[in-house]
Amino acid sequence: MEASRASTNDLAQACARSADAAEWAELLRRCTPLVSLVTIRVARMWSNEASPALVDDTVQEVFLKLCAQERRVLRAFQPRGEDSFLGLVRLVAASVANDHFRRLYSVKRGGKVVTDSLREGTLPALPEENWEPHRMQQSVMLAQLDAKMRKAPEWVCERDRIIFWLYYRQGFTAEEIAAIPTTGLTAKGVESALRRVTQWVRAEIERRRPGDRPGLPLK
């Protein structure tokens, strides 16, 4: 097999059983930039102080992970499209790097990472320095809007409520929201959900305005 001409998928499958350093060198040449990039990004999410040496160690760990248990990951790899192996490598790199830094920072903190239960009931309070009247008023109003949505799960389901706030409060685009794993919507689907929620909230507010004719909420 001529390593330089083989596709990455074929090369990965060959390396599952190969002891040929030339084939491995070619696979590393193609995968190392990707593994390094993902590792650097994971390292940055954990700490901006991650040294190049630490990143190098993590890159090495990613490749060793591919070869663990008699190269189980490589043996189990089934191509699902052109260069799908690179997609697998990205995932393995993120997962291994994440575990690596989780262990590292767990030791630095002196033990196991303890994650408290999330407070998801209300929108967070504004930071104290932002307690200017207008922003404070806006914060309170948004909390009221959120409460309205929560009280009508038959009109605004939890997924749509999350989509609404990610879009309007956190500045996510419809494409970004659709890209969140397991959202299960396309960008158009996200836009449709947003339209549904905004129409319902507007109708709900107007229905409660004094002097206005009550109207049915829109679905």
């Binding site: 390396c15 350093a21 084939e23 491995w24 696979l27 590393l28 190392t32 930039p33 593994v35 390094s36 990039l37 993902v38 650097i40 990004r41 994971v42 999410m45 954990w46 901006n48 190049p52 990143v55 890159v59 090495q60 070869c67 008699e70 190269r71 990205r90 995932l91 993120a94 830094f101 989780r102 920072y105 994650t115 408290d116 999330l118 407070r119 998801e120 209300t122 967070p124 309070a125 930071p127 104290e128 932002n130 008023q137 806006q138 309170v140 109003m141 009221q144 809007l145 409520r161 309007y168 409060r169 956190q170 500045g171 996510f172 970004e176 969140i180 794993p181 397991t182 507010i205 409660r208």
Partner: protein
Amino acid sequence: MNDDFNSDHPLERFMSGSEEELLRAWEELIAAPTSRPEELRADGAEAPGVPCHCPEAGEWISIVCGQSAEEERDGMLAHAAACPVCAARLRQGMQLFSIETTTQEEAAMSSLQAASPSWQRQMAVELAHTPRRTARRWLVGFALWGGAVVTATLIVAVALSFWWQQRNSPERMLAGVYSRCRCYDLRMSGASFSEVNPAAHLRGGPSDQDTAVLMAARTRIEDRLKRSPNNAHWLQLEARADLLQEKLDPAIAILDGLLATGPPSSSLLSDDAAAYFQRGLITGSESDRANALDKLRRADEITPGDTVVLFNEAIVQEDRGQRMNAVETWNRFLRFERDPSWQAEGRRRLQAIERKLQPAGK
């Protein structure tokens, strides 16, 4: 004063905000969604005012990698929808797999040792020598498993075949015929218990009571004897078939011939004795019955604990008037016999002799 203070307090005023104010805030939100929050602080610490129980960076990476449980993931997304810092982390996590690189990232990548060809060559050699499952090893494993499966199948097949042959051997078939229709008092080797059925006596000729099994056994025996006419085993089985059909003269002829030519076995002697005894009963020949007892004694000497021999010997002894000897033989029989039905018959016959031995009037 307190009232004044309360009414002027911005929070109080906002909390009691009218629907008009709510609509205004709503329109403001829709018209200009919140601009993207500030970048996370470089050291990853929480931004000011953010609750300390926000998930750590690794949790968001797990979500992006699809490694979180559904319930946990939904809770975290709901949290990110309300928390600007976590929303920023989620966005950062989603960019993990983006192909586009910043100049900062490119600089960081080029500063790594992993980017150098020498590091990659050295790593390639190291990885090429990691343990691997070779095709030969796979073949060996397959051959071992395959061999084991074939061997196990063969063993099961041989065992089943052996069991089938044993179950359907002419010897077992004849014993089965005897057990289904016990036509005389003496026992046949290998047959299970059944009560004597005198009506089943065939008196030497074919009858309706010749079972299909008996005929099948005969056919197989004769078939074997065609191939090896002098085989002692098949000749003895032919004699047993004759005995079951009460063709006693041919049975005695065969068995006497076998005893004359070969070493006497307990089984041969017992069958011969049964043939003589039956003929003696039918013809009233004292000589045949005495001959039967003589053969059973010899069989008893060869295999002293054989319950078939002891059972038959006790019956013939009683017939010959040797009641004391019969009592002793029945007692020996009861010591060795394990089958409860045969034991019961032996005990019944013993008690009958003992009653006869008791003085009259007692």
